[in-house]
């Protein structure tokens, strides 16, 4: 039995490797797209952080507000004169936020008579967000300081105006900030096995039916379970290999570029290893389910359509988690793909994972794989599958 399984396995792997174009396409797609996205996102995020960390405001008409300018200078804020066409520039996105001071500001401010400034911004662009909030906060602080001074001048304690003091404590560690960015890596870690297992899963089932090679194959004195097992092992190998290569691409991109840009991000060799411990068992399940679905396909193309529904379903999971903001819960480990996703996010947050955190999702994945292989073995004895061509 083992020798037969091995023969089927080796034949499928060899056959798949002969298909150079497909193999190359998958490799390029997996190696290039993921890490490239990571580099782009890291670039974007580091840009956000540099915009937010250097305190800088743009003011039109700064000379009308000497007190405000004085406050900003004391707070070490760099003041830049806004160009005349600031409104157009804000709209274009080359300026984030501009404080506009009217000519009569200083007189009104001194007279305590409805002194106004305008804050011009476009909040439809997310990358402007930090700069807008910064300008708002600085204006609020100026406001508060002025109020305090005036209250004190009248002999009133400043605490009257501020009944609740808010001390901001950002609980996100630098690594946790990186995990937000690294939603990306778990997503690719879930999808890479699907991409990698698909070709063999389809070619070894629907492909055999379409070519008319299934009937003679089954005329050999070999139990159908040996065929199902050998074919599934080949699909799993391919799925796991593509996952390993894809994650290796992320490793290289993170170590050589992204981690320098975003220090919060950490995806080194230990994280790579932990990701593989989660992704490789998952690949066993996806390869098995893909093969089971593809067995119902009478042709390669038909099977491809069915199998792509699975990829859609799996790619929906990270999106659902992202938008619902699902928290970690014990039951998630038992849900394929979701369990792996949540564990991967914990790896990126720098949490330590226990053995059970790997073992439970792996056990579920292997159980699904076993059930799929058994179902394929049964289908290969089904007359409608074996002879139901065209």
């Amino acid at each position: 039995m083992i020798a037969r399984v091995l023969a089927v396995y080796l034949k499928e792997v060899r056959d798949a490797l002969r298909d150079r174009r497909t193999a190359l396409m998958i490799l390029v797609a997996s190696v290039i797209t993921g890490p490239l996205t990571l580099v782009l996102v890291a670039h974007f995020v580091s840009g956000l952080e540099s915009r937010a960390t250097t305190l800088k405001v743009r003011i039109a008409g700064a000379s009308h507000a000497p007190a405000l300018v004085n406050f900003l200078q004391r707070a070490d804020v760099e003041i830049e004169k806004a160009p005349a066409d600031y409104e157009a520039r804000v709209r274009q996105g080359t300026l984030d936020a501009v404080i506009v001071v009217p000519e009569d500001f200083h007189e009104r401010w001194l007279a305590q008579d409805d002194a106004r400034v305008r804050l011009v911004y476009d909040d439809s662009r997310t990358e402007s967000g930090p700069a807008i909030r910064q300008a708002e906060r600085l204006l609020e602080a100026f406001n508060r300081e002025t109020a305090w001074l005036r209250l004190m001048a009248r002999g009133v304690s400043p605490s009257v105006s501020e009944t609740v003091k808010v001390d901001r404590v950002n609980a996100a560690t630098p690594r946790q900030k990186g995990a937000v960015l690294l939603f990306l890596i778990p997503m690719f870690a879930l999808l890479a096995p699907l991409l990698g297992g698909m070709t063999i899963a389809i070619d070894a089932t629907a492909g055999e039916r379409e070519r008319g090679s299934l009937e003679p194959l089954l005329a050999n004195p070999v139990p159908t379970a040996a065929f199902a097992l050998g074919k599934w092992l080949a699909a799993w190998t391919s799925a796991a290999a593509v996952a390993a290569v894809t994650l290796a691409g992320f490793l290289v991109a993170a170590v050589t570029y992204a981690e320098r840009k975003v220090p919060a991000l950490q995806f080194g060799a230990p994280e790579y290893g932990r990701f593989l411990l989660l992704a490789v068992p998952l690949a066993a399940a996806t390869a098995g389910v893909q093969m089971l679905i593809a067995t119902y396909g009478r042709s390669y193309r038909e099977a491809q359509t069915y199998v792509s529904y699975l990829a859609t379903a799996v790619s929906f999971i990270p999106l659902a988690v992202m938008f619902t903001g699902a928290r970690d819960a014990a039951w998630q480990a038992a849900v394929p793909a979701l369990g792996q996703l949540m564990a991967m996010q914990r790896v990126l947050r720098g949490d330590a994972l226990a053995v059970m955190d790997y073992a439970v999702p792996a056990a579920v994945a292997l159980a699904i794989a076993a059930a799929s292989v058994a179902a394929v073995a049964r289908l290969l004895r089904d007359e409608r599958i074996v002879f139901g061509r065209s």
Partner: protein
């Protein structure tokens, strides 16, 4: 030795095979002759254990196909109706894969490949991917693949279908040599000349049942005419169908 008794197969409301009985002896070529749709392929699929009969039995070298399909398959070499090859693998690799599935050792596979390449004139094709092969070349590889374990019983479903004259001749020659080697050869065809040229025993199948069987001479006698083709037409009941 293949013995078929009372074999029947029903697909829903359709009775594809209705009580077919015949025996194919060792060292003889037995031809299953009948028009398209007569039930030849269904019968051969039941012989090769890929279809379960609704009724009746198949015995190969005394082994019951229903009770022990794997043992029966081990004693058969089958060229099935579907005969797809793996296009990216070479002819040699296609043949070797089936050898491995039948548990042959590396040396046995190499020896069998050399023997079959000589029998089927495959020599120069062996190390080329089968994707570029002509229909006749693909057929030869499919036959070589089915015979890699040197089976005692050979089942060929329409082996010459769609082949040119030269390939057909070389295939017939191969079948004769299998008979000389003492094999039991059972093959199906809808071409009279094919069967006349090769068979020691003819089984005419029509509408899923045996219309006549025996040596070519006996079949001619049963039909009451000298010409075998004429006998085929009469016995298979084609004449009545063709005329309104």
């Amino acid at each position: 030795m293949i013995a078929v008794e009372g074999l029947a197969k029903r697909f829903g409301a359709v009775e594809a095979v209705r009580g077919v009985t015949f025996a194919a002896e060792d060292g003889r070529v037995t031809g299953l002759l009948g028009p398209n749709g007569a039930g030849k392929t269904t019968t051969l699929r039941m012989v090769s254990t890929l279809l379960a009969p609704s009724a009746g039995s198949v015995r190969v070298d005394g082994l019951d196909a229903a009770a022990d399909p794997l043992a029966v398959r081990a004693r058969l070499g089958t060229l099935s109706d579907a005969r797809g090859l793996y296009a990216r693998l070479t002819a040699r690799e296609n043949i070797a894969y089936y050898g491995e599935l039948r548990g042959l050792a590396r040396e046995a596979i190499d020896a069998a490949t050399a023997r079959l390449a000589a029998l089927l004139e495959l020599g120069p094709l062996l190390d080329r991917p089968t994707g570029g092969f002509s229909q006749g070349e693909r057929m030869k590889v499919a036959i070589a693949r089915a015979l890699v374990h040197d089976p005692a019983n050979v089942v060929l479903d329409e082996p010459t279908n769609g082949l040119d004259v030269m390939t057909t001749r070389s295939l017939r020659e191969a079948v004769r040599r299998l008979r000389e080697a003492g094999k039991c050869v059972l093959f199906s065809s809808h071409v009279m000349q094919e069967v006349a040229a090769l068979c020691d025993e003819i089984v005419i199948v029509s509408h899923g049942a045996v219309a006549a069987r025996g040596t070519p001479a006996a079949v001619r006698e049963a039909a009451g005419c000298e010409d075998l083709e004429e006998a085929f037409v009469r016995l298979a009941g084609i004449e009545r169908e063709a005329l309104p």
